[in-house]
C-alpha cells in the first residue's frame, strides 16, 4: 500500500524541498486570488456592504472557508494523512490580538479593504486599492520604526498556542460541530438582512 501515516504537512516531513514549497505558495496564491476576485472581494463597496447588511457575502465566504478548512483538517487527521501537531497554530497574545483587531476594524470600515482583498482588487485595476496598499505600507513602517514603543504591548499577556476546544475543555470535533451550527445560524441572519436591505450589485 502507498498509504503513509501522517505524510502531511509535506514540508515538515521533507516530502518537498523548501524551493518547491515556495513554488507551491505561488500556485496556492493563484487559487486564493482567483477565488477572492470571483467571489466579489475586489469591490470595496461589496465588502463594506457587510457592515450595513445589504451584502453579507463576506460573512458567507469567510465562515464557509473557515469551517471547510477546519473540517478538512479534522478528517485528514482522522485518516492519518496529516499530523495536526505540525500545523502552525497562531499564538495568542491577548492584548495585541484585541488592540490590533480593533485598529484593523477601524481601517476596514474607513478603507473598505483588508490587505488580501486590496491586492486582489489592484490586480483588476481598482485605484482605491492602490491607495489602500500605499496606506498599508505606511502603517507597517510606522510599526517597524516605532517598534520599541509598542514592544511591551505587542508581547503582553502571552498564553502560548491554545485552541478554542482546549480553552473550553471539550473535544476538537465537538467545538467544530458547534462552530458549524453557529455559522449556519449566521448565514440565515445574513440571508434575512439581504432581503431586508436590498441593494443592486456593485
Amino acid at each position: 500500500m502507498y498509504k503513509q501515516i501522517d505524510m502531511a504537512p509535506l514540508i515538515v516531513n521533507e516530502i518537498i524541498s523548501p524551493d518547491t514549497n515556495l513554488f507551491i505558495a505561488f500556485l496556492i496564491g493563484i487559487g486564493f486570488g482567483f477565488v477572492l476576485e470571483g467571489s466579489g472581494f475586489s469591490s470595496s463597496r461589496k465588502l463594506a456592504g457587510m457592515f450595513y447588511g445589504y451584502d453579507t457575502t463576506v460573512l458567507k465566504v469567510f465562515f464557509t472557508a473557515a469551517i471547510t478548512a477546519m473540517v478538512g483538517m479534522l478528517f485528514f487527521s482522522l485518516f492519518g494523512w496529516m499530523d495536526l501537531d505540525f500545523v502552525y497554530i497562531n499564538p495568542t497574545y491577548i492584548t495585541s490580538a484585541i488592540v490590533g483587531g480593533v485598529v484593523m476594524g477601524i481601517g476596514f470600515i474607513m478603507g473598505g479593504f483588508c490587505p488580501g482583498t486590496a491586492f486582489c482588487a489592484i490586480s483588476i485595476g481598482k485605484l482605491d486599492a492602490l491607495a489602500f496598499i500605499g496606506g498599508l505600507t505606511l502603517g507597517i513602517v510606522f510599526f517597524t520604526e516605532g517598534y520599541p514603543l509598542f514592544e511591551e504591548m505587542y508581547k503582553a499577556n502571552y498564553l502560548g498556542t491554545p485552541t478554542m476546544n482546549e480553552l473550553l475543555d471539550i473535544p476538537r470535533g465537538v467545538f467544530a460541530l458547534g462552530l458549524i451550527l453557529m455559522a449556519f445560524a449566521m448565514f440565515w441572519v445574513g440571508e434575512w438582512a439581504e432581503k431586508k436591505f436590498p441593494r443592486e450589485e456593485y
Binding site: G29, G72, A97, G105, F108, M110, G112, Y147, F150
Partner: protein, 173 residues
C-alpha cells in the same frame, strides 16, 4: 433592475468552499495558513535593508527580523502574494472586470475615497503588525486551526467595523 444587474460573481457558499480548499491545501502542503500583510512587511524590511543598511542594523525590529529570516523576499507569503495578483487578474479577465477605476459611493468624490483608502490602509497596516496578521493570516487561518488568538482578532476586527459603520455610512451607501 435586479434582473439586469444579476450577479456575475460565484455563489458565496461555493466561493467559501473553494477558499476553504485553498486554505486546506496550504496547511496540507506547507503546514501553515494564508496571509497578506506579512508579504508587505517583507517588502518593507527588504527595502530598509537596501536603502538604509546601517539603520536596519541598529534598530530593534529589523535587527530581530533579519536574525530570524535569511532573505525577507524569499518568503512563503511573498510568493503567495504574487500568486494572488495573477489569480485575481485571471478571474477579472475571464469575467471582463479589468478596468482602471476608483470605486466609490456616488455621494462622495474620488478624492475623498482615495483619502479614506489611504487612512484606512494605515490603520489596517499598523493593526496587522500589532495583531500578528490580518484578516487572512490571523482571523481566517487562525480560525481554521481553532487558535484562540485568531477568534479574538476576528471578533475585534468585525465587531469594531460594525460598531463604527454608522459614522462612515456616507462613504459606502
Amino acid at each position: 433592475m435586479s434582473e439586469v444587474k444579476k450577479t456575475k460573481y460565484f455563489n458565496p457558499y461555493i466561493g467559501g468552499v473553494l477558499l476553504g480548499l485553498v486554505l486546506l491545501a496550504a496547511n496540507f502542503v506547507s503546514g501553515r495558513g494564508l496571509g497578506a500583510s506579512g508579504a508587505i512587511k517583507s517588502a518593507v524590511v527588504s527595502t530598509v535593508n537596501t536603502v538604509a543598511p546601517s539603520h536596519a542594523e541598529n534598530s530593534a525590529f529589523y535587527k530581530n527580523y533579519n536574525e530570524t529570516h535569511e532573505n525577507p523576499m524569499k518568503s512563503w507569503l511573498v510568493f503567495q502574494m504574487m500568486g494572488v495578483l495573477v489569480g485575481g487578474f485571471l478571474s477579472g479577465a475571464f469575467a471582463k472586470r479589468l478596468k482602471f477605476k476608483v470605486e466609490r459611493s456616488p455621494k462622495i468624490t474620488s478624492k475623498r475615497r482615495i483619502i479614506f483608502a489611504i487612512l484606512g490602509g494605515m490603520f489596517f497596516g499598523f493593526g496587522s503588525q500589532l495583531g500578528r496578521g490580518c484578516t487572512s493570516g490571523s482571523a481566517l487561518s487562525g480560525m481554521a486551526v481553532l487558535s484562540v488568538g485568531g477568534f479574538l482578532t476576528m471578533a475585534c476586527i468585525f465587531g469594531t467595523a460594525f460598531a463604527l459603520a454608522y459614522f462612515f455610512r456616507k462613504n459606502w451607501i
